[in-house]
């Protein structure tokens, strides 16, 4: 079913354009822009969490055993995590078209 994105008529706009659905920004899958994705080499990862701190999208999170991965729904492939990773455990890999 096609999701209705905009209120159709001006009468349907909420006062002040307030958005009452909490967390509605998460409906916007910014991962679709990605040209390259981060790949973690867990053999090199020292579990410092720097990639988690620096991710501007806040889409990197801690997984089992304390390693990290990006949520590919939102990861835009900016490469900051790879740039900041101290042991250079993250590589940016081209997305397949």
């Amino acid at each position: 079913m096609k999701q209705k994105k905009w209120p159709e008529a001006w009468q349907e706009v909420t006062p002040g354009c307030m958005v009452f659905e909490p967390g509605s920004a998460s409906l916007y899958k910014t991962g679709s822009w990605r040209a390259q994705r981060p790949i973690w080499d867990n053999k090199k990862c020292i579990k410092c969490g720097i990639c988690y701190i620096f991710c501007p999208e806040a889409c990197v999170s801690e997984k089992e055993e304390g390693f990290f991965a990006a949520n590919l729904d939102y990861c835009k492939g900016c490469g900051i995590c790879a740039h900041e990773c101290w042991p250079q455990a993250i590589v940016m890999q081209e997305e397949e078209v």
């Binding site: 002040g16 307030m18 958005v19």
Partner: protein, 387 residues
Amino acid sequence: MGKRIGMEVGIAAAEAVGLCNIDVAAVYPITPQSHIAEHLSDIVHDGRIDAEFITVESEHSSISACAGASATGARVYTATSSQGLMYMHEVLPIVSAMRLPVVMGNANRAIAGPLNIWNDHSDIMNQRDCGWIVMHAENGQEVIDMTIQSFKIAEHPDVMLPIVVNMDGFQLTHMIEPLEFPTQEEVNKFLPDRVPYATLHPDKPVSMGCFNMPEIFTETMKVKDTALINSKKTIIKIWNEWGKQFGRNYKPVETYKSKGAETLILTVGSMGETASVAVDELKKAGKSVGLVKLRLWRPFPIEELRAAIKGCKTLIVMDRSVTFGGIGGPVATEIKSLIFHDKDRPRIVNYLMGLGGRDVTVEDFIAMVERAAKKKDETYEFYGVRE
């Protein structure tokens, strides 16, 4: 009703705010509003009212603080003038777009270029399209009444818009005159607590002030325009409620001896009182002159103004500000475009007067009526300019 006492109008404005159970005031002082800021901070400091007085570092911050506080459901007040209002300029349309009730007292003062601290309307006229409700007080009593009324109007669920109450800087703010204050009980009866439409509370998450795309912007603008236009109904309703409770009546357009007059003077603000004395003198001399006073500027009272000027042959519009390089003063251009299609519309004569505190006397109004009678075209003039 309280007894008549003497008080400076600027101080009275702060006292009126003190009766309204505000939660937050964020005010930055600027001449000639400074007495309002000072006295309001005194009232809060003395513990007479339980409010937060935020001593912000600029007017840009004061309006931003008010918007933020209003978004949490607080009742807020601020006051400013001229350059302060200009400093707020970029935030004003945002406050009205977000439908946040804020009441602002504006001590009308000329905007700079060159620097001038005296009374004229250029400050509020430069905010014409900001989407706020804009009204003008003519004397100290109206400043008190309209300040209290504005909290009720702004917070009303059919309005939810910020309001500017204009009072002529120095002319009103620094004038000691007889005033009647309603009692706290009377104000409590008139003004209920604020019930916000939505608040920024973590228990009921809501996003305010979101980004807006081309696909929805036009509809959003129509909503904002419609909200402002529709607010007039509620403004009139609340003014009538005030009239019933306090015996002082307020209308969007008021007239003085205008019935059947061939020539009408149209004023905004305190100059209307001086003009009424001129009308009395002209009538005594047998001239057919009346007075129309515009109290509500935005939303523009279309029907009321049409009714007030109906039948007159000449309408002399007093503008206390200049729209440089335009077709006339802001009030005159607005009225001209209103009556453009009307049959039997009056001839409009537009005088730019009282600029930057230039005193306007009874004799000046009489002179303008005489000049207008002889004027052949409808171009605007700077009244009293030395040539």
